[in-house]
Structure formats: structure tokens, C-alpha cells
Symmetry: D2
Subunit: 436 residues, 4 copies
């Protein structure tokens, strides 16, 4: 694993912080070049005699004493891509304020509606961004700049950056966006341009490798808790009442699992990481019949990517993401059919809060987090780093090479703390018979 | 219209309030028998010389100096029927506290899971209710007693009441429940029993005739506002973004209209009271294309009972309510097809918050309202009134005969203040071409 | 009581609604001149043979077919005065939208910081108001225009109106503001000017005579409920824990009483309308000792105007309102001293949420209410009515002459439903021994 | 620094998890004895050739394969001490569920009202705890067991533990509680008893050394944000409006600083870690006058422990904590006097939300956190560890010796990320002239 961060060149310009620092006004600290954080922080058991000469380590984020770009000449572009996620506007706001107030950058533009805004054929005008424009946007969900799914040709996008004189592109986006940025970076490198590309990764599912936490996730599972409460209330109020909640999580069950431990009224959580069978003595349907028999109601939470072997999703969306089959609809149908066939009267209420979760403003925890991510993204870009994302690891802010982040996905460890807490809280079986 | 209230007999027992009042402890006021409220309170224009000798009037609710039942001997049954609605637990709690603390009734039972709890074949045990059991239930949504849809045979239910010695049945339920109570009352009368039947009407749709407001409605439209905000955020964030929200309202658009005036980001509201056409120059789809052309996004709210001529719902649910076609799914499909055919790229997000709205606890406004409704229901029943519901009219609490309440439904007046406010707020056309 | 509304002159101009109505676009209804609502709607018991020939009645609010001002020439001024209250921005927004979109008024100015903005010596520039300026303000608490307490000389303010050519002054304010408007109206009349003065009354205490409900009150007591919960949690968590909450209510206990019935964890409510004694066997302190002895904790809510005979407030604020003594501080001190003297270890937590309540945005219920009040205020002013306020009575919108509204205050009826519900909910004594 | 954890003896009993694991039902992982986490995870710059042979490391929390206590014989006591904090009930609930369901402990008692419940003279009966008792308590703020401040004699408390046969005392409390537990542990050791003492540290101020985060902190600063919004609304609404918010934080400004970065409407934050002067050109009062002159309003947040050199607090509370002077009252008074002397009309609104913050239920983030802390506390105690607390460090759960945690306090680093973000957000001066 190569955790080094590409650089556009030597940083030779004194940070404007230093100037003010000299005057006694800046009381902060520069991060020295070379400062790194251990990737892995557990000591081996039993202790290993031959510690790695150079253990894997991540570059610490933060302001640098010498920077690459001259803020007075730099033009910065900001773009937001993919689905909505709480906190996008907080990130935009803090990017603009940091660029403007701390570094003195005066030329900041927003590309509208995702990568489409970088394709001249789409005729989306850019938006000038300054502190006045972004002052209040953190109280709103959504994205001031709009968003869209799907890539554009890297050549076209780099043409736009070049034509507009953008030296630093700050992008907020997920998996597909990171791949797009990687392609943009390759095209920039091919042309030998001095344009930096920095990402604030956005995935409400919290599934980026090496990244402990992504922005919006805290807000998302906190709001999901409300749906669980609603499902529990409906389930309890009916004889053989079933509350079925579909939550986000295409490749991982983090939101479903986290919300369940936070609000322990759930009796079963289905996630992509743990296969389940519908039929058979150890299948979900038999479990549900036993649960109704003994307790009279049940609350089931399902992550949207669970049980894809049973649903048969196919195709891909404009971002190139695989289309997912609708596991919520499948469960609803199978449960009704099964209980009907067994002559069990029941009431099933189905709740899908996805868009309500995606569109709320960031809660205070995420607001705080977004402001730090944005500040660190600016520091990273101004210093000449490129093809880099800023992230939290071990509760610290670090730089990650984009190419590592697109290599896979982080998933729930079924033997780990979180999933074990789910099993304790729900009392559900750890395995589901002959599920694949 | 006969607004008189049936009575089981002459109230000859002194209210226990009086006793304490004599001792100087009760500082309230009895409502004199005969106290009534004008049904209609506008003066005619031009003034009419021959005022009605006896204008239509509603009996005022409240404690009476003489009551019919001896609280020390009375057994009271409580039942909750139909779909969930914020405030049910508040009503149960206040019924029990008023019966126990103010009147000294010591035998209160809850029938579980709606009318099914009154049918011995269902083997639902009754629940003893006292202040300790209900102390904290007002903080939870749902119903402590559970609920179900659908009727049971009146003979069977009256058998149960007779066998258990219930003298007063307090029921919380909607349209179907009121019809069921009417049938129970008829059977009681046929047998010459002294059992009173009193309802606290429950309809989240606010559609009971003569009743200005039903409990849970304030909470419902307040929560619906959150879905409208989410839809607006999603719509604004995409090019040609469309937020489509389906809200409750089978026969009337009160929730949809009220939420829209409270949160004026909606561009079009569709309700059962105003027909709309999909096609044609003045149809919804053409309107939507023009809106996207001019503004780039749209928020549409649709009440579940709107456009039923277009959807073709059929059949009936266990309560005998007509099954409704899914107008939300229809709109989603038609919009996608139409815009696709016109080559208009768009993003549609569909939000259906129904069960989350139904299951939340009452907000403070409804909590207050529920506590008054419950107190008045107890006063009405203890005084020997029967086949009666308690309601708010002109901001006052009154008695209404159940037989009048089941004769029709209250609907939005398209020329009235509320709908006119919707038209002003949305800017939508008041009529939709050749809609029926 | 004279409930007639002053008029500037005959309304001879056709409402612009009519024009569009002719084209088939307006589907609303005009309120005929002369339409009135009965002030009192209970029928007498026993029935009175001689009904009043002309019972007291209030003019109905709403759009008129003929109006007084020519919207194309009219200049409108808006001003907000006194303390903050949830909903002020909603009213401002709806005033502007109604004036602009429905009547076509293009010249709307906001005077800043209350009546001070009408006094040229204060050099507060006016703000031009149009739909773009007010689009999002309803999501914020406070007042877009700012506010202040205290009057200015009517002559100076009318000079300003005359100089600026303002034909209609729309004011949002409370008691002192209404008196100020009355004085402005008198000065206008003295000069024979054609300037209308219309108020949307603002009192978070809900104490305007003849008015059933004032805007912001629903939000206020709903937020107050949170403080009661906090006080209850603190009280329960400690041996002899006492939670003491001071709520708004200088002349009346509506907020305290309403919040208590909505959140029944309160054990004692003190309001201006019911005197209480501290000492003696039937005084508050003895009651508290008994309560701690029997239950181990207590929650007390006190309206800021309660017990003023005990506190001895004096002087007046800039609006001419009497300064109030701090009854919360008094109670805190007396309780500590008394329990200390009795050797009762205890923990007292004091909560005063006033400014947090005043500054929140309107909840959906108040947002709805504010939008109707504002629309009706515009209809009233455009029609040439003056020295008038718009209000809710019997759940309908009506006009009230300002001179009647400043004659007294609405207070809680200790024998009425609300206070009786408080007594039931708290179990507190209805009287406090020898309190005055 | 000695980070080793005392043990009662060799763990020789097989964890009940293993048994079920063998049957294929437990899919979790045991933490091997000896597993540790690096205390410090930054790599030195420049790289150091001689890495420490044994770097400082913390024991990882989690279930052990061999445990010390026999769950079938163990009696566990739970106690909560000190001020309220969001999440106490979540911790109690998870302790009980983990003990009961996972380890099979059947004898769990709660001591009431803090350490006082361990002193027989106080005659507080203990409460039996099982899953039914704690099922719903996580939805409530406060503490099921009640709390109190102040110590009791260790001998008396250990007498009680011995007499009742308690083998494991689980305590939730802050600084004073940890010192009390240390004393209890010393007394236990002196007597040679096999009683383990485990703490879940509670400090809403987040000031425990070596601990990254304490429970309730996330909820606390999130609620504090609401007070900041209120203060901002009030300040903006008045000419020279000043919103002054006093937040918790006796020794550190974490809550004040964190809430400010999360809700950036604050113009000045005062914390214990950064001295400030009131007077002089670089003092707070001059700054405020300049701010009002240029912007017309100001929002100031002050941590309760700020400026203690100016206030002169004295004495100590029952827990032995120093009593603090009321810096909020001081500022209010000084600002009024200073602006009055300068002839600057202004409006100051003072908000102190402390008890409302302390008494709310945990938000979902803290609910999740509390459940993990509680599980790990049970694992630690059952394994025979003692005088230990469970904590989060580097986003992982670890054991910390109590004796290290009471040695000092964690405070804000004025050169660190958080305080620098405060300075950027507020624009306030980093230093205040000749402040000490």
C-alpha cells in the first residue's frame, strides 16, 4: 500500500499565516512536512521483536509553513457530485471562508450540478463564491451548487479547468467522484499542468477504505433512529405487527447497524455483509413466525444492499454504480405471502426514509466535522498536494491518496464490536442457515 | 339536522365535584343542563328580520352537577380502533386519570386491539387500567391498548359489555368506529340496557362533519412539513429536480393544504376535492414541463385520495373503507414517462412519510387538546349521555350525536380561505382544464 | 362596547382580484361589507324571550370587492415593535407577498428597530421590501426589521409617514405598540390625512382582550414544555430535588397554565391571577415541605408576573410597562432559606428559558396562523379600514378596533376549563390560605 | 506514567461467551490478554533512530476468554454520582443488559442517590435491577438511580459492599467520584477483599486526562448550539444587541469552543484556558464597543470557569470542588456599566441553558457511545480488573487506571486545531492585552 501523496512541486511560498504570526496574531501551529500518523496502532500480541523499520503511516493534515500556490493569483473551483448527504453546504461554506479569510484567495467559482458543470456542452454557468454568498447556507440541507450523478470525459473537464485558469479543484463526492478525480488527475499529469485536485469524500454509507468516518453519517443514523421508533410503535400497536425499515447502505450495513445499537428496539438487521436465507428452518421467514408467535410483533431493519443474491438487481446508474434490486419490496412481498400461506393475520408497515435522511441539514456534530474537513482540504490543496483526500483516522485528520481510496470498500466486520453489539441488542441469529 | 343527544335516564346523583366544592375545594363551574352553542355564528347579510326562533345549537361539554352513574359502582371500558394517530395515549391517560381521580371510578378496563378485543373468540385479555399504568404513556406514540381495523358483530360486543358489567364504553376511533358504536348503541337500546357509549373521534384527516378539528391533526401536518422541506431540498439540488410527497388524506386534502400553507415551498398540491387532468395543455404534465422550463425544479404534494378517477382503486379494507389506488405511484410513473418522451432529463424523488407521521407522540398542542377531549368525554358519559362524541366547534368543546357525524364527511371548500391560501402560495392553476 | 371599525373613506376601487376573477382565474370569495360574527355564541340558559335586537358582533376579515387604495400608487410601511416573539418574520413575509403578488403594490418599505425607525433623529434607514428579500426569512426567529421598545412622539412619526408618502402603516406589536398606533391614528385624523394604520397584535402572553389567540403563543408554550421536562428530570434525580421554572406571563398565566396541562409533570403553578402566600400552614413553603416529605421532589412553574405583591417591582421600562420584581429569584431565595431553617437537605435547580423561547422560529401551527393574520391585515388596510387589528375569535378571523384592545387585558378565569385542568393536573390547592 | 491496570487475581473461569461460541453461536472475538494500543501515534519528525523499546500503551477493552468472577455467584452494585449528564440511563441500561443476558449475572442492585446510597445512615434502600426495570429508561434524561454530590467515608462504603456481598461495583461519576473510588479501592485492598471497582467516567466538560471523549458531551454541545442561535437572533434584532450565553466548563472551554465551531454565529468565546482582561484598549469591553460600532450586535459565549481571576469564587461544594464565581453575572454587570458610561444604548440578553442541557436524553450518537462504554465496563469488571475506568482513545475503547485519571485535567490547547478554529470562526483577538 503506497500512502504517499502526489505533489505538484516544491512549496516555496511563505504561508500568509506566518506573516500574521510574526505580528503576534497567529497563535496556531504549522504541521511540519513529514509528520505522519501510524496507520495501525495496536501493539502485536505477543510483542514482535522485529518492529517494522518503517511502519505504514498517513500524512497528517493541517496548515504548512510553506505553500505551493500564490493565493493572490490562484483561482479555485468547487464542485459537488453524487447523491445528497447532510453537511455538503457546511463543507462548501468552510472551504470558501478558509480560502478567503485565511489565505486571501479572491477568485473562487462553483461549478453547478456536479461534473456536468465542468462540461461546457451542459451550459451551466459557474457561480462566484465569496463569504456573503455562503454565510447562511450551513442551516440548509442539500447543496448550494446542485449535484448530479455520472462522469464526464476527463479531457473535456480538464479543458474547462485550463480555459478558466483554475489551479485548485476542490471536489465533494463519493466513490464515482473519486474515480473521476483520479482520471482528471491523470489527464492533468499527462498535460503537465499545475492543477491540484483535492477531495472531501462524501459517502453517507461510511464505506471508504482507511477512513474511519465520513461526514453526514452521524446525522444520517441519528435521523434513521426516528424511523426505527416509528416502526416499533406501529409494530407494537397491532397484533402480529411488523415494522419494516429500509435504510441506506448499498455495500455495507453501517447505518443500519449503528442506528440499531443507538435505538435498541430492532429485532433483526439485515446487511450486505451477512448473507441470509428466506426459507428453511433457519431462514428469515421461519424466524419471523417464531418471533410473532412468542412476542406478537417484530421490527426488521434492512440495508438497501442486503440480500442482493435474492433480489437480482442488474444494470448500472449514470455514475456506473451497479443498480440494486429492491430488497425492501422483496421482503414485504415474501413476508406477506408466507404469513398468508400460514394463516397468520398480521399488519406490516413499510418505512423508507432515505430521501428525508439525505436532505436534512447537518447536525452539530457533523457541522463541526465538516468545518474541519474543509479547512484541511484547503491546506492540502494550497500546499500543492494533489489527487488527495482529507479524512479522519484514529480521531485525527490525515491525507489519503485517492488511488488507495478507490481500490475497495470498507465493510462491517461480522466479528467486530459493532456487529456483535447488533447481535446482542437484537437477539437475532448470527447466521441464517444455508444462506450463501 | 337533529343535534339532540340521547340520554340513558335522568341524572339523579350528585357529582362528586359538588361535595368537594361545598367544602370549598372545587373552584370550577358546572355546565347547566341546556347550555348550548350556536352552530352558526355569522350574522346574515343583509340582516334578516325574522331570526330563527330556535337556531341550530350544540350542547356544551363539561361537568354536570347531577350525574347518571354511581362512580363507586361503575365499570368503564376503553377501546382504541383504526389506524394510529398522534395523541391516542394522551386520550387514554386523561380518561383514566379523570375517571379515577375526579370521579372516583375504580374499575376501568382496556379492551385490546380494537373491536377485536370485544369479541371473545379473539381471546384478547382485557387490561386493568389505573393511574400507575398510564403515568408515562403520553410520551409515546401508538396506543397502549393496541388497535385493529374492522368491525365485529354488535350482538357479540354487547354480550361482552353485558357479561363484564361495563356501564360506559369510551371509544377512540374514526369513521368506521363511529358506525360500529352506532350499531352497538342500537343493540343496547334494543335490549334496554343502561350502557352509555361515548366517542373521542380520531381522524388524522380532520374530515368529521361539524367538527372543526380532530386530535393528532396538528402534529400530523407539522411533521408533514419536514417531508416538504426534504422534497424541496432534493428538488433544488438537481437539474429539473422533482420532489413528490404523498400525504395522508383519503377524502380530503386538509393535511396537504395546511402543511403547504405552513411551509410554502410547494408548487402544486393535488387533493380529492379538486379534480385534475394529467394530459392536455391545462393538465398536470404540461404544467410541470412549463415549471421545469422556467424554474428548473418543482415540488408536488399529493393527498392519497386525489385523482382516484385516474387511478382506479377498488375493493375495501377490513373496516369497510374503500381501497384507494396509489396516486403517488401513478404520478411517479406518468411523470417519468412524459418527461422521458419529451427528452427532458430529470431527477424525481418520492417521499411517503405516512407511517412516520402516524406513529409520533402528540406535540404539546395536541397533548393539550387530547387532555380536554378526554375530560369532556368522561363528563359526557358519567352524565348518562350516549351515542355521543365530544368535539371542538368554534374553539369550544361540545357534544355531537354520533348519528350526525357518520352522515358524511367534511371537505375542503375550494373557495374558502385555506384553499385560496394554497393557490396563492403555490401559484398553481385553480383548475386543470378538462378535469372531471 | 363599540366594535365598529374606522374607515378612511368609501372604497370605490375594484379589487384586482375581481379582474382576474372575471377571467376565471380567481376562485375565492369576497367578504360582503357588513359581514359580522357574533361576539358571544352561547345561548342563554334559560332561553331569553327578548333576544337583543342587534347582538354585539365583530366584522369578519377577508378580501373586499371594492377597496380604498389604488395599489399601483400606494406606498406601504411595515414596522415591528417590542420584544421578540416566534412568527414575526412569517408575518412580514406574508404581508409583503400578499401586497406584491395579490394586490400589485410595488412600493413597500420596512422601518427598522421599531418606532425608533419612524423617528428621523434615529437615522435608521428604511429597507425596501420585495418578495426576494423576504423569501427565506420565515425559517428564522427574530425580526428582519429589528425591534425596540418604547414610543416616539406621534407628531414626529406622522411627519415621517407624510414625508415618505406612506398610505398604509402595518405594525406588528403588543400593548404599547397598539397605544402608539392609537396616538398615530389620532394625529393622522387631526391632520385629516388618508393614512391607514393596521396592526397584527403580538403578545407572547396571549393577553389581548376579545382575542382568542395571539401568534407565537403556540410555539412559546410548546418550547416551555421542554423546560418543564428538564425541571422534572432534575427534580427526580435528587433527594428533595426541586425544579423551579420561570416562564413568561406578566399579567396572565396562560403560558404557564397551558404548558402545564400539555406536560403534566408540574406539581404547582403560580400565576398573576391567583394570589399565593409564602408563609403559614396554607402557604407555598409549607405545601412544598409536605410535598417533599411525601414524594421526595417537586416541580414548580411560576409566571413572571405572579406574586408581585410579594416582590415589590417598581418603575417602568421604555415602553411604559411596569417593571416587574423577579419572582423567580424571590422563590429561589425563600425556598432555600425555609428548607435550610427546617434542616431539609435539598437540591434546587432554576430554569429561565425566556429568551430561548422568544427567539425560536414559528412552529408549523404558528406559521400557518401568521400567514392568515398577515393576509387579513393587508385586506383590512387596502380596504381603507384604520386603527384596526386583525385577530382570531371563535376560530375565525375578524377586525377589532384598536381602542377596544387597549382598554384592558385578557386574563385566566380561575373557574374556567384551563385553570381547572391545571388544578387537576398538579393537585395543588386551589387557594393559598390568607393570600391577598 | 504507569498505565497498568490492577487485577484482583488470575482469571481462571471460562467466559460464558466461549461456551456458546463452541456451539457455533458466538461469532465475536476475545481480546487477548496483553493487547494494547499505542498511547501516542504520531511518528517523530525527524524520524528517531532509537524507537522506545516499550512505548507507552493502553490496555484494550473488550471481552476476555477467561474471567475472574463466577457470574452465577456474583453480586453487582451500580451507583451514579455527581451532576446530571445526558446518557446516564443508557449506561445503566446497558450495564444491566450485558450482565444479565451475556454473562448470566442475576443479582444486580442499584445504590440510590450517589455515594449516599452506600452509607447506611442515609437509609436509602437499594433497588433490584433487571432487564424489565431498565427496558425504557434510555429514552429519559436524568438517572434512574438518582444522584448526589459529595463523598462518604470509604470505610463505611466498603462495609456496605462487604455486608451486601457485592463483588463488583460499577460507578458512573466524575472527578470527585473517581477520587472516591480510588479511596474505596485502597480500603478494599487494605482489607484484602476481592471486590472490583470499575468506573464509567462522566464529565459533561470532557476534561479527563488521556480520554478523548466523555459520554454526554456530544449531546451537550449540540443542545448548546440552540442557545447560541437564540442569542444570535436576539442580538441581531436589536440596535447594539448583545447575546451573552454562559455554558458549562469549569476548568475547560471544550463545550463553549465546540459549540462555537459547530454554530459559527459567535463573535467571542471566553474560556478558562485563555485569560482575558476587561479593561484597557485590548480588553473585552473595548473590543465589544468596537464590535458594536462596526457591526451593531455581538454574541459572546463564556464558559463558567472563565475569568475566575476576575470573579473571585471561593469555597467548595459538597464534592470538594472549588466553588466558582459567577462570570456570567459579572460580564452582564460590567458590560451594562461600561456601555452605560459610554452612553451606548444597547440591549443585552443573558441565556444560561445549563440545567436544560444536563437533563436531556442522550442523542443517538451518545446513546451508541454509552452502550459501548457500559459493555466494556462489564467486561473489565468481570475479568477481575479493578480501580479502572473505560474510555475512548484514538477512536478505540481502552482501560485506564483511575489513579492516572485523577492526577490532572485535560484542557484545551490554545495552539491546537479546535481553539484555532474558534479564533477563525469568531475573528476574536487571540490574546487580550495584559490579561494574566
Amino acid at each position: 500500500m503506497d500512502l504517499s501523496i502526489p505533489r505538484l512541486g516544491e512549496p516555496r511560498i511563505a504561508s500568509p499565516f506566518r506573516k500574521t504570526a510574526r505580528a503576534g496574531e497567529w497563535t496556531g501551529r504549522f504541521i511540519p512536512e513529514g509528520a505522519r500518523l501510524l496507520l495501525d496502532l495496536e501493539l502485536p500480541v505477543p510483542p514482535s521483536s522485529d518492529a517494522a523499520a518503517s511502519p505504514a503511516a498517513l500524512e497528517l493534515a493541517g496548515p504548512r509553513e510553506s505553500i505551493f500556490f500564490d493565493p493572490s493569483k490562484l483561482r479555485v473551483g468547487i464542485v459537488t457530485c453524487g447523491g445528497l448527504c447532510p453537511g455538503i453546504n457546511n463543507v462548501i461554506r468552510s472551504l470558501v471562508l478558509q480560502l478567503h479569510h485565511r489565505y486571501g484567495v479572491r477568485r473562487i467559482v462553483g461549478f453547478q450540478y456536479g461534473f456536468a458543470g465542468l462540461a461546457p456542452s451542459r451550459r451551466q454557468p459557474v457561480v462566484d463564491l465569496d463569504p456573503a454568498v455562503v454565510r447562511e447556507i450551513h442551516h440548509d440541507g442539500g447543496s448550494l451548487l446542485g449535484t448530479s450523478r455520472g462522469p464526464q470525459a476527463p479531457e473535456v473537464m480538464v479543458d474547462t479547468l485550463e480555459r478558466m485558469g483554475v489551479g485548485l479543484l476542490l471536489a465533494i463526492g463519493g466513490d464515482g467522484t473519486l474515480r473521476g478525480l483520479d482520471a482528471i488527475h491523470a489527464e492533468i499529469a499527462r498535460r503537465g499542468l499545475k492543477i491540484a485536485v483535492v477531495a472531501v469524500p462524501k459517502t453517507i454509507d461510511n464505506d471508504i477504505p482507511l477512513v474511519d468516518r465520513s461526514f453526514g453519517f452521524d446525522t444520517a443514523f441519528s435521523i434513521a433512529v426516528q424511523s426505527i421508533r416509528a416502526a416499533h410503535t406501529e409494530a407494537q400497536a397491532h397484533q402480529n405487527g411488523i415494522g419494516l425499515v429500509r435504510l441506506m447502505g448499498r455495500h455495507t450495513g453501517y447505518i443500519a447497524a449503528t442506528a440499531t445499537v443507538a435505538e435498541p428496539d430492532v429485532n433483526c438487521v439485515l446487511v450486505p455483509e451477512v448473507a441470509f436465507a428466506l426459507d428453511g428452518d433457519h431462514g428469515l421467514l421461519a424466524w419471523l413466525r417464531r418471533r410473532l408467535e412468542s412476542r406478537g410483533h417484530a421490527v426488521i431493519v434492512v440495508a438497501e444492499g442486503a440480500g442482493q443474491d435474492l433480489v437480482g438487481g442488474e444494470g448500472a446508474d449514470p455514475s456506473g454504480n451497479r443498480r440494486f434490486g429492491d430488497v425492501g419490496a422483496l421482503l414485504k412481498e415474501c413476508i406477506r405471502t408466507d404469513l398468508g400461506a400460514c394463516g397468520i393475520e398480521h399488519t406490516l408497515k413499510y418505512i423508507d426514509p432515505s430521501y428525508q435522511i439525505r436532505s436534512v441539514p447537518a447536525n452539530p456534530n457533523d457541522a463541526l466535522f465538516c468545518s474541519f474537513l474543509a479547512r484541511h482540504a484547503v491546506h492540502a490543496g494550497i500546499s500543492g498536494r494533489t489527487c488527495v483526500l482529507v479524512a479522519m483516522r484514529h480521531d485525527r485528520y490525515v491525507h489519503l491518496p485517492i488511488r488507495e481510496a478507490v481500490l475497495g470498500r470498507k465493510t462491517l466486520d461480522p466479528a467486530g464490536d459493532l456487529w456483535q453489539a447488533v447481535l446482542e441488542s437484537t437477539g437475532q441469529p448470527p447466521t441464517w442457515g444455508n444462506a450463501q
